[in-house]
Symmetry: C2
Subunit: 321 residues, 2 copies
């Protein structure tokens, strides 16, 4: 039995909580919000025994095993560090923090305290994306020549909302641009060069971001994200003998198609009844059960690398928070 706490009972926490109900041996044990009533309502909805109106009260429960941090981007660092210093294992929503320095500090804290810490890069644990990488590694599409991924949705413009507020880390890059970057990293690792451009909306946030990266063997990544339009949200791996297409929306996809040149396309489907947060949650629980303080599948080095890419894109595209 692993006892979960939830810090920040917002939209994403609801989806996470629902998925957690499907994971064997997972117990929703505590929830904390800056607003006691909000915490109580969330607790009532999921039959959670402990609810708090202060984040740090989660530390009053010695039997609590791990906390899922789902606060706003700008709080991720402070909330994670508070929990780690209190000895709590942390699964921290993406973006893991606002910049590399913050992530480095979180990693240093976790390592010095010997406490488990992982970025909630849920797509990393999706069976469909794992299958894509397995196919790539098996040589199904020959030598990889590049990747492409887009992520765009039409955000309701709300100048007061988090997504359009620079001070809260709003904009496309941290919210959704991180997914195409993850895809490139998942398939190709770290690039040799990065070019990136953003266009900005009336509140100053990056509403559209385009990224081109190149790699040691001349591979190329073409990535884009936007808050202005619904795009297909497809991810591709291109190879010398064919391509893999992960169907939209790829970051949570249940199917992919392999198109080998000269052959009939072949589709692999991975139906599920959840949003898909159960896979990362299950992995965290396995790590905790095994006494691991770091995931072997999405390591802290992976998180540092991904944030390094985000920082480099910001610098290239002139995105500031």
């Amino acid at each position: 039995m692993i006892r979960w706490g939830i810090l920040g009972p917002g939209h994403i926490a609801h989806k996470f909580a629902k998925d957690l109900l499907t994971v064997p041996d997972a117990t929703l044990y505590a929830v904390a919000s800056s607003d006691q009533q909000r915490a109580d309502e969330f607790a009532g909805q999921y039959a959670i025994p402990h609810s708090f109106g202060r984040y740090e009260d989660l530390l009053t429960l010695p039997e609590l095993d791990v906390v899922y941090v789902a606060t706003r981007h700008i709080r991720h660092h402070d909330d994670a560090v508070m929990l780690l210093n209190g000895g709590k294992a942390v699964l921290g929503e993406k973006p893991f923090a606002m910049n590399l320095a913050q992530v480095q500090h979180m990693v240093d804290t976790a390592r010095s305290k010997r406490v488990f810490l992982m970025e909630a890069l849920w797509s990393r644990f999706m069976p469909t994306l794992l299958k894509a990488r397995e196919l790539v590694e098996s040589g199904a599409i020959g030598q990889v020549t590049g990747v492409r991924a887009d992520f765009g949705f039409k955000a309701m413009f709300d100048p007061e909302g988090r997504l359009f507020d620079k001070k809260l880390g709003g904009g496309a890059l941290l919210d959704i641009g991180i997914y195409p970057l993850f895809w490139s990293y998942f398939i190709l690792g770290m690039p040799q060069s990065i070019k990136a451009t953003a266009t900005f909306g009336s509140t100053g946030v990056d509403e559209q971001v385009g990224i081109i990266m190149t790699y040691a063997d001349g591979e190329m990544a073409i990535l884009d994200s936007t808050l202005r339009a619904k795009t297909p949200c497809e991810a591709f791996v291109y190879g010398t003998e064919g391509l893999i297409k992960v169907h939209g929306r790829w970051h949570e996809s249940t199917s992919l198609t392999v198109e080998r040149i000269g052959e009939e396309p072949e589709t692999h489907t991975f139906e599920r009844a959840t949003f898909g947060y159960n896979f990362e949650a299950k992995h965290v629980m396995d790590c905790l059960t095994n006494g691991q303080t770091e995931s072997p599948l999405w390591s802290l080095t992976d998180s540092l690398n991904l944030m390094t890419l985000l920082d480099q894109v910001r610098a290239e595209a002139g995105i500031e928070y």
Copy 2:
């Protein structure tokens, strides 16, 4: 009746000639190659009355109305200028020439001689792409936020071949990268900023090219082309109320789908029995019949603009010939 000449009876000239057979009032009247036998064979195949082993011999036929120039990239400028100076109307294959200075010289020559000149940007005349722009202009997808297009195929590596020879203008950009650039220009016009990256193969040509451009209202173009892999070859226009997807291979496509947010997708199909060169040929004939020396649909200014973009991408990506 319009009498056509063909200069450079290669692969593309064969397709053009076949399509021309379907165009009312078009006559294949002459063909010229640097190799008389090659010209004769082509003439025999399409029942062309005149065949020459020297390009300039086309000028010996006063009744010849227009010449389709389908030589190698590096010859386009010289061949077009020779014909224009001889008073022949010219439809010149893309890339129109190797750089902006050459295109400017061709344009100056045509204008001073008052002779018709047009770039063979055949996709510009495809009913499917015209429909896409008509839909955009009618507001079918709201305000345009950006475009995306890819063009990739797995080229057989031949270090002696034109496509891999820098001196012959080989590489992805001039051969196929021009199509995504055309798409962006066709929908959004000239950009405010361009970032581009290329990766190079063993012979030094650009084998992969990625391009990001931004526009006055924050629109973005995401374009990529590659000789290393077969990519979907799809083109998109994104808008605030939906998207238009031109199905692969988009530059010669017979169908597109409009996906308006919250509505069922709607597909428009334009079947044809030709490769699609007939549309540009028909337009050239209309211009000649009307006494026009420049196309109102794909003007010389359009060609100058497209070559300006190609030159800027080259400079950004470090592509040299």
